[in-house]
Symmetry: C2
Subunit: 537 residues, 2 copies
């Protein structure tokens, strides 16, 4: 069963190592460990529904509670610290395109608002229920998860948009094919969610971002069923797929999508390298990204993140050995770790890619430790989010903030984001543990992905105050640096106040005009994506 | 000087070989060779302007004549057969973003309509002047053609949008960089034109389509200057670049664009291969496209096109030798020709790509003739359009029609398009010479590019009747096959009636709503792209 108030499966716990706890207390002080709200208490907070239960609409308190939140920090404060609500009035679980059509028609008749729900993994409050006077239906798409067609000649799979990563991949792999989309939220996030939030998977160097994989989609909008895209390549006017991608539910509910797929690769390995400093490591990452060498992933941790990751792994003797080895190879005590993914259809190609990428890395002074650490990384690639549960239980909050910028701006932006995070918490006399990595590299630049850990407070309002200051300061640092307000998480409620900097007022007007053409009553996930009066930026 | 009434430079003639003329007469009969209108006669057709000449606006008859048309067949009938008009009331030649801003403001004050003019190479009537009662200004962007900035660290070039291919590449190559965008119209078409019509270059396998190369653009719209895009990668809402791309001037005038560039490659070669039949050749093209082998181009002529190309080249003894060689290798007398582009940063990579691609081709029975024919192709890659002048003078009209479809639909669509062309002209008791190639291949499918040659008639109205029947029949065959109405030419006036099949009515409403948000008076290239009442489809 999915945890109702945290990340992942409730039978899986990944407690922190003792040494990690000691490290956190030394760096941040001890955090508050006030007990959580329990499930029954939480259900009791759910008030009466404005909608009548029927075969389509589940108005039970448990369903409404479990669909009221995602994984944004304010969501965590809500479900862990008893700051719950508002709740959707009902939860629907359609199983087909026709079900969704019927549901949207019904919602329209009822004057209700629809909030699409995929895997519930949004970290920017795509799922927030905003009470504007209308009843709210959360539409859980997870039952529409089947592989409907696979054309191996054209390499196109038609999939139900509610398919979460493991269900989607299992169906494709049974035929020898893969989509190759692996965001950290893979275990729960869904195809439809990936599409409307422009998700980027860990191996996007090989498989592309989700927008590169979409051939076409079927969408249930209030007034019509839309068929968007479907052309292999076209010069016939604007590409409407690129409006659907990133629409965050405001155009309608994606029910089915035609996706480019490819055969399951024969070889895959993740090589871990270390560099003496950031400058050398970034030069290697840029060199590989601009060379055209088709590695599947380049992931580069800064010195702080490298240090913290080695500490949090907890295998002290192995890590001590690794640190000695790195020191012996002359990299000093502040190394930066790079993980290089090599994915290929045959071993000869894998060897060639590995050789070419390692050669560029070595020219920048990189030292390879082989693939053992990379195998550990791969085995835990989707498990990182479980640390959030363990950290919270230990008295610490954690959040991540991210952007993408040109190479010239990569290090300055990363430093400005980290400084903003430290300064924001220093304003409350709190310390922050802050570290970053580049998660996706491109010819012109890179993403910057920053993690912040800080102490929970005794008062949940104080937790929220800390987060608001942190989020505002870092978001401001991002847009001031010319970065996108999100490279991979989307906009939701949390990033909406910053969108105008990136898109311009005219650009927002263009987007709003499209939504209004399709959804004049603004019943499809309103209050998300586009900024509204009263949003605090 | 650019030819006012045909393709290319007026000092360049590429007459047909005698053997080619004999072949055309045998296949099609002799065409009409009525003499053309001359330039002075044509200027005399230009009536008075509704605008007053000033430092911004050139109202001379010659300027207005030369900006009244593109390269669509109806354009040819207009300027060659005295069916001229309507004409723009003035031609403007802005030299900077500020000039364009001033010009658009002035046009707005005058209640005038703006038609953007890049290189004048549109084959679908993007440049047509439609008289809706308002004066029309043709904005010739060719003076805004400079490389404004080149960031080699991030590999981004900022360019004036009026830069035509040779001017653009010369400036980049002076620094060792290239955009790598080579449509057949390269000599005249401009960056801004490529962007707003979603152009695809011949080597798009390596460099991408123009939409893959765009980082961001500055656009002068009626009410505001727009800055669109600029993010390396983003999950922050819809991608507005993809609305600008394909907007065909309706959002505004693109003045400057930031483009991804790369170093000039060290090696380039074009290998020519022959296959016994289409099935084998298509299997090889698909195999290469799906393998991930990074050839820069795959171009595959069907048997008819292979035959015609060899005939029209005119080197009879060399071609006879080639035909004997192909026959001797057992490929029969209806071979299909493939041209494979190999472009790489070093010789080792070039050898690897060549080996991998030829290996797939050989498995499908392909016979390589090496790179000599490919070198001839490359030397003439932009000269093919000159054949239009020579054919017209010899009594023949020529047009091309194109789409893209999934691999499963490639051969059926090509055959349906060819049959439609034959049948349309057979309705007039006319024969057609029809042949096709795949010009751009993708993992999921391919473009299909068809050429039709037929006799000119003594009466220009008859020429237009032939063309209308041909265009309607082939366009209908394309949309019936599920293909895009254009893979690389755009929509303009000629394809607008077919756009709704591809985009849906709701999709067209989405596009119209964006244009109306930015240009409520519809002064920017109106009557293009979106279908209008009275359009004949």
């Amino acid at each position: 069963m999915k945890r109702w108030n945290g990340w992942g499966d409730e039978t899986i716990d990944r407690p922190l190592a003792d040494s990690a706890l000691v490290f956190l207390e030394q760096r941040l002080g001890a955090g508050d460990r006030s007990p959580d709200l329990d499930f029954d208490e939480a259900c009791a907070r759910v008030g009466p529904s404005r909608l009548s239960a029927d075969v389509m609409l589940d108005t039970s308190a448990s369903a409404r509670l479990c669909h009221a939140h995602g994984q944004s920090l304010p969501d965590w404060v809500a479900f862990r610290r008893d700051r719950l609500g508002p709740f959707p009035d009902a939860v629907a679980r359609p199983e087909s395109h026709a079900d969704v059509r019927g549901l949207v028609d019904k919602a329209r008749r009822l004057g209700a608002v629809i909030v699409p729900y995929g895997g519930g993994t949004s970290v920017v409050r795509h799922l927030a229920v905003v009470d504007d006077g209308r009843p709210v239906i959360s539409v859980d798409m997870s039952h529409q998860n089947r592989l409907l067609d696979l054309d191996t000649h054209d390499r196109i799979a038609t999939l139900g948009a509610g398919a979460a990563g493991p269900v989607l991949e299992a169906q494709l792999r049974a035929h020898g094919y893969t989509l190759g989309h692996y965001p950290q939220s893979f275990d729960y996030s869904t195809l439809g969610g990936w599409l409307v939030t422009r998700s980027a998977g860990q191996q996007s160097r090989r498989y592309g971002r989700i927008e590169d994989m979409l051939l076409g989609a079927r969408v249930v909008a209030p007034g019509a069923n839309l068929v968007i895209g479907g052309q292999v390549a076209s010069a016939a006017g604007p590409d409407l797929r690129q409006i659907l991608l990133g629409s965050e539910g405001r155009l309608g509910l994606v029910t089915e999508a035609d996706m480019h797929v490819r055969p399951v690769p024969a070889c895959e390995a993740f090589h871990v390298l270390f560099f003496a400093d950031w400058t050398a490591a970034e030069a290697a990452a840029r060199g590989i990204a601009q060379s055209g060498i088709d590695v599947s992933m380049v992931r580069l941790s800064n010195a702080e993140e490298t240090d913290v990751q080695l500490r949090l792994v907890g295998h002290e003797s192995a890590i001590a050995w690794l640190r000695r080895y790195i020191g012996w190879r002359g990299l000093g005590d502040r190394p930066c770790m790079m993980t290089l993914g090599v994915t290929a259809d045959d071993r000869r190609t894998a060897r060639r890619i590995t050789g070419a990428a390692l050669s560029i890395a070595r020219q920048a002074g990189g030292i390879s430790t082989g693939t053992r650490l990379g195998t550990v990384w791969a085995a835990n690639r989707f498990a990182g989010a479980y640390a959030r549960n363990a950290l919270w239980d230990a008295g610490y909050a954690v959040d991540t903030m991210e952007t993408a910028v040109c190479w010239s701006a990569t290090a300055p932006t990363m430093n400005a984001m980290q400084r903003a995070a430290h300064d924001a918490l220093a304003g409350f006399d709190e310390r922050a543990l802050v570290f970053s990595h580049l998660s996706h590299v491109y010819a012109a630049g890179s993403s910057v992905y920053m993690t912040v850990i800080w102490r929970r407070a005794a008062d949940p309002e104080q937790d929220l105050a800390h987060w608001r200051a942190l989020k505002a300061a870092v978001s401001r640092a991002i847009v001031d640096a010319g970065g996108t307000i999100s490279h991979q998480h989307g906009v939701g409620r949390d990033h909406a106040p910053y969108l105008a900097v990136e898109k311009s007022d005219a650009g927002l007007a263009m987007i709003a005009s499209v939504f209004d053409a399709i959804d004049p009553e603004r019943m499809m996930n309103p209050h998300k994506l586009l900024p509204e009066a009263g949003d605090v930026g």
